[in-house]
Amino acid sequence: MDLVREVLDSRVLDRAGQPIGRVDGIVLRLRDGEPPVVTDLALGGLTAVNRLRRPFRGVVAWIVTRWGLRAGRAYRIPWSRVHDVGIDVTVGVDERETPAHAWERRIGRSIVRRLGG
């Protein structure tokens, strides 16, 4: 498997086939005398921003966190929960468990409140 071509930046689907984000990062664990292993996929947070080179990384990170576009830690999915790697990466999580869903609920409540509902 070619991790950059086949996994990095791929769209991630939950067990129901719903998109929950993109693979912004891949976590490797280094081990003495043994090959590194893939432990997690990282979605969201500042993962994508941290791929930029300095000084752009710091500037963009400040902008996106200042305006609340992205915040906090990336959402990690253990490699053991990856079911399939194809055009998309399918994982064994429910979309409702993910920060993407939490963000949508928050936005939805905010909109409903403003509408007086």
């Binding site: 891949i26 490797l28 280094l30 590194p36 893939v38």
Partner: protein
């Protein structure tokens, strides 16, 4: 120790003598016993060609298209890449000891 793969991509690699051997373009892994283990790192245009699915393109066709031909990338086995400093990866061997682009 954790290393983020996306931070390795594009990093310049040097050999044990400090000579450049390209930038990490691809990381190949295989599933063994439920683990996804890194097998090798590809540098130079070898990795880029694989990402563009051009690795099996006949060499003469690649030449016509202006794509660099064999010999411009290295395959670094996992045990030969020292990631003690992930921002400055270096091999434990000399570049002459590394397999070159074989397609």
């Amino acid at each position: 120790m954790e290393v983020r793969l996306e931070r390795l991509v594009g990093r310049r690699v040097v050999d044990r003598d400090g000579r450049g051997i390209g930038h990490i373009e691809e990381v190949r892994a295989e599933e063994v016993g439920g683990e996804l283990r890194v097998v090798e790192y590809l540098t130079g245009t070898l990795g880029a060609r694989r990402r563009l699915m051009l690795a099996t393109l006949p060499l003469h066709a690649a030449g016509v298209l202006g794509i660099p031909l064999a010999g411009s990338g290295y395959r670094i086995p996992w045990r030969e890449l020292d990631l003690t400093d992930p921002d400055r990866p270096r091999t434990r061997c000399r570049r002459e000891e590394l397999p070159r682009d074989g397609g």
